[in-house]
Symmetry: C2
Subunit: 204 residues, 2 copies
DNA sequence: CTCGACATGGGACCCAAGGCCAATTTCCGC
DNA sequence: GCGGAAATTGGCCTTGGGTCCCATGTCGAG
């Protein structure tokens, strides 16, 4: 449906699996990127493309969990689904705790894998939207002068202009000026909106 | 250290396990509540006691995952650790996804179990603190009159007194009265504090 | 040196918020 | 029906927030 179909990165050292899954996912409408190793995946991986990763646990070089760790370092974290033949419980627990969307075992039902991928893509979309909002926020923050940022903090903390002025050692009039320009640059009309903006940004 | 030591609920149909773990956890300073079945556990379970639950997967009657589901329905959700002999990967994935703190397999290292319990107790403590704050908030909300609640919503939304008055079809003066009493009852001095209070309450 | 961004404020003015005092109406429970 | 809580509104005054115009001073880039 979207103009840019989501990409599923397949990472497995078994060529047969790679071919079979590529066919399955391709016919499901996904763009597929098959890789035989973590290194190969990292080389062709574009964090800006929406999609998810389906990883085997056993890989030459860096293993699946290690790759998941690398991926988690980036933002927005690419959603990961594990698909492995010889997984054990500790590995599955570790993977899910580290944020994996699912942990499946071979052989896998096509419907199961597709459902997991669908869920992962939902996660990815939401993560991207959140990241986009956070970027916009960071940008607006960057346009503030140091003084305006200080005033922002105090306003969000619920301080009065008079108190802020006393804290900063300036006239109340001046804080009004900074405050007004800050509200303008942040694109909000009310303290309520400002607080929501800031807490949403710093929270998740 | 705390005057009321946290309780660890042990649910396992193997008497030997129950005895052995009771001894281990008792000597670690925990209060222990051994149960042979989900039903027995639910009967002696007091949600108000701080602590966590260590569940086997296979139980007579309701199984571990079912029990976890029941527990999740309550608030604050009692933290659950699974400890099982014949667990499989899908069960472990399901358990962790459903919020289990950990999923361990028998035989378990004492240090592993104790670490998991320690983590679970941290979760429990934080959940209790959050629930306590939410209760306090709900109580304050309950003390508001219907009108005050309406005004609360509009104020948090950043509306002006004049707009609120127009929306409610009343005089601006009246909204000021409601607003003042609402701020008083909510125990906040500024709109910023109010917004934080409300969003923290409705968020997590 | 000049320009622009930043910080600083004074004066005037307007609107918003809130406190104080007083009043009416409505509805509920005893 | 009476007491009381809730909702409603008025007037009056103070404080707070926000805007406009204007002015000064610093500092770094060009």
């Amino acid at each position: 449906m979207p103009p840019v179909p989501p990409t599923v990165y397949l990472v497995d050292d078994d060529k047969g699996i790679l071919v079979a899954l590529s066919r399955l996912l391709g016919s499901a409408g996904y763009s597929v990127e098959p890789c035989a190793s973590a290194e190969e995946f990292l080389a062709c991986h574009d964090p800006d493309v929406p999609g998810c990763a389906v990883l085997d646990l056993q890989l030459p070089g860096m293993d699946g969990l290690g790759l998941q760790g690398s991926l988690a370092g980036e933002a927005p974290g690419r959603p990961v689904i594990f698909l492995t033949g010889r997984g054990d419980i500790p590995a599955s627990v570790k993977a899910i705790k580290a944020g994996a969307v699912d942990f499946l075992t071979k052989p896998v039902e096509a419907s199961t894998l597709l459902a997991a991928i669908s869920a992962a893509l939902v996660h990815d979309l939401q993560a991207r939207q959140g990241a986009s909002q956070r970027r916009a926020m960071t940008e607006r923050l960057a346009n503030l002068t140091p003084r305006e940022r200080e005033v922002l903090g105090q306003v969000v903390a619920g301080r009065r202009n008079k108190q802020i002025a006393a804290d900063l050692g300036i006239a109340e009039k001046t804080t009004k000026v900074h405050r007004g320009r800050m509200m303008e640059k942040m694109g909000v009309q009310s303290v309520a909106d400002l607080v929501r903006l800031v807490t949403v940004h710093n929270g998740p």
